[in-house]
Symmetry: C2
Subunit: 463 residues, 2 copies
């Protein structure tokens, strides 16, 4: 077994090299949502295969059924050691709106920030940067010990940002070679830059695109106004009724199956003294949204939401065009919590919209994600080992926290392979994930690698 101190020193010494390696990966614009970037997605998968092969993994790029490929790698550990499935994703969100980036999204830079250097690029933290944390930990072991203290399978997919539609079938088809004791995922956040966290609760998600059509064509707002139905008016009215004045979602039955939280859990979150005003203030916000009368972490981690993520209708160019739009569209993101069934939410939303259409109106719906909310056992061997590793690196115990975001793969790994997931991530709230100027603090990139070195050592010796 390698000496942990030597491994950590190696990580420290190699930080610039590791960052340059990450930059190479970030330069590949692997946007899974946009078909014209399919080639870039494949390049990102191949790039990772090369890295794994260089570390001694049996590595391959595997096809999915008509989607972006998956990079797999296998490296056996010492006899009797636990076997871990490390999951990550190489795909990224579209960078729009481009004009709000201060540097090009696929030309990574090391910029100065209030807390030191930061890596700025699309994918800097979500999830290429975080995937590199454990990859660099592997590299340190490889360099100093010739191999890893545990058995490792790597699974890095390219469709996480579009809801991993082909992953369940892929997991099922590769069930045997993906066998492991636990899945490890670096795609979550810290409590703050000095306080590590393990995420034990995740919101689920469903994402519905709705397209209304009420007339055969756009109509002149003077000649037809007062008689013709207007798809934009109708959609605004329907979506405007999604929330009442208390912020409660009005889709019938939406809250019916929400599992209530224990008083203890709510109390432990309250003890964190989360500063919502500061959290919002960093984004230029002041007034909390969501359900009135509920605490911030309850709203963010344990209550379901409905957010319009996109909306378009009629003429959106320069100047004036006096049309009554025949069509109007929106994309709505629902965040779900344990107990809620994504398919039932989609169906209830569909009825909610249809009830608000005139009889000649048509609506089509495209539900893109269906991930349930999840709770992860917090007293397991894996969480205990991770807690020890994080406490050693940061000098304080990690927070067991929730996350408002979805990681549908956690549900898929449980459903298909029976695996629990250990979620240890190093993102921060202000990393601008999915937004312009996404960044990863260099210190998080650095200490995240060190934490994964320690995590491997702890797990190798854990019971």
């Amino acid at each position: 077994m390698a000496d942990t101190k030597a491994l950590l020193t190696h990580i420290d010494d190699q930080l610039d090299v590791a960052r340059e390696r990450l930059f190479d990966w970030l330069r590949i614009s692997s946007i899974s949502a946009q078909p014209d970037h399919a080639g870039d997605c494949r390049r990102a998968a191949e790039w990772l295969k090369g890295e794994l092969a260089g570390l001694g993994f049996a590595a391959s790029v595997q096809e999915t059924a008509g989607g972006h490929p998956v990079t797999l790698g296998h490296l056996p550990g010492p006899s009797g050691a636990p076997h871990l499935l490390f999951y990550g994703h190489y795909d990224v969100q579209p960078p729009d709106p481009l004009d709000l980036w201060t540097s090009p999204p696929f030309e990574p830079i090391l910029a100065d920030g209030p807390r030191g250097k930061r890596i700025v690029a699309r994918g800097a933290v979500d999830d290429k940067g975080q995937t590199m944390l454990w990859l660099e930990a592997f590299r340190a072991y490889r360099a100093l010990a010739g191999g890893l203290p545990v058995g490792v399978t790597v699974l890095v997919e390219g469709e996480e940002e579009i809801g991993s539609p082909r992953l369940p079938a892929f997991l099922d088809a590769h069930r045997k070679e993906l066998q492991a004791d636990v899945a490890v995922i670096a795609d979550t956040g810290m409590w703050d830059i000095a306080t590590p966290a393990i995420t034990t609760r995740l919101r689920g998600s469903t994402y519905v695109e709705v397209k209304l059509r009420v007339a055969a064509r756009d109509l002149h707002s003077g000649l037809f106004g007062g008689s013709a139905q207007n798809a934009a008016n109708i959609l605004a009215k329907a979506l405007g009724q999604l929330h009442d004045e208390e912020g409660r979602i009005q889709v019938p039955g939406f809250y019916d199956s929400v599992k209530p939280l224990s008083r203890e859990l709510l109390a432990s979150w309250e003890a964190l003294n989360f500063d919502e005003a500061a959290f919002l203030g960093r984004m230029g916000l002041r007034t909390p949204a969501g359900e009135k009368g509920r605490k911030a972490l309850d709203r963010l981690w344990a209550r379901p939401t409905a957010d319009i993520t996109g909306m378009w209708s009629g003429y959106t160019g320069a100047g004036a065009k006096t049309v009554i739009p025949a069509e109007a569209s929106a994309k709505v993101s629902f965040r779900l919590v344990p107990g809620q069934d994504p398919s039932a939410v989609v169906e209830a939303f569909r009825r909610f919209i249809l009830e608000r259409l005139p009889s000649e109106g048509e609506a089509s719906f495209n539900a893109m994600f269906k991930g349930k909310g999840l709770e992860i056992p917090s007293d397991s061997r894996w969480v205990r080992a991770a807690s020890a590793a994080l406490a050693a690196e940061y000098g304080r115990a990690p927070i067991l926290m929730g996350s408002g975001a979805s990681i549908p793969v956690v549900e898929m790994l449980k459903d298909t392979l029976g695996l629990d997931s250990l979620l240890v991530g190093f993102g921060l709230d202000d990393d601008q994930v999915h937004s312009p100027n996404e960044k990863f603090e260099l210190t998080c990139f650095h200490r995240g690698q060190r934490a994964y070195v320690r995590l491997l050592a702890e797990i190798a010796t854990s019971r």
Copy 2:
């Protein structure tokens, strides 16, 4: 004085030539709203100047203050004859959405339709095609009589579709050379293809673009959902409250100054037996919009409206992007009736939106048109002459009707030059004005020219 019958025969004989001439004009993509078409607007103005010069007019292209130019022409009539100011516009609406056109918008074609041939192009009827009606009538007089039976000034502008922002100043600066007894405008419609009409009532219009901003940037809908304000949610809610369930506009004070209609006028409209089901059915619609409990022509001609003409926010590309948008925008077209003050409506709408924002929300407003609703005296010498001409051409008296659309120039001509307007147009409800596949029935193009020949003769001999 030329023989009317010979003039009409000349019109009949020259129909193909006249149509080809119109096609030349339609090929110029004079979209006033789009800065990159400024050169095309100028070309359209120059083209018309050439036509007028060919008819013996003293013609010129005159600059406006930083906008698209105006084509002017002057041709004196016989001594003592009335002097008419013919107004038209050479600019057209943007052709979007392009994919719904069955032929390119600026490549005019003669297509087969259920009522014979039709001219299909952007501007076919609004307003190049209608402007050509009186121009071809002038040409017939020029060919057979060497000149016109009345004095004529031609004023054809290039900013009608963007609200004629520079026309009042232009009219004021050219007040002297624009002196006339009445203005004549062909930019309205018939009652139906067999029944001519004179429009004596017009709705006004104002058009407001609103842009909301609530946060510094777009945010991840999982990490921030339940806490962060969403500009799209807020805009949908605000715009969704523009109308109540009865279709009444909820902007405070909106209806306060609406002048009530006389019982007689409403009764005369009711006698037209307007078939709203058929009117809507042609557009694929069935359920009337607008205020419940009011008759269709009241809603279309005499009641104010609010229609969202464009709306956009967040991610509108392919697939899913799970953002909470920081910004959301909409364009809203208000149609106004006599008594309403456009500036007051804009201000009331501004307050309506601002009241629905969280305290950190910002909204900018850009009001693009401000035209009042108008009533035109229907017992004048000009309306009587036009009635006689239309009755002779169509074998039935014209309908004195209202229009839901705005022609702001009518108000400007009245305010600036003191001129009443005579509105005699040959469009039909299904001409797809401002929409893909705009068309002008060939028979309307033909008989419209004949009607204008008769109109000139009637006016020359009227008292």
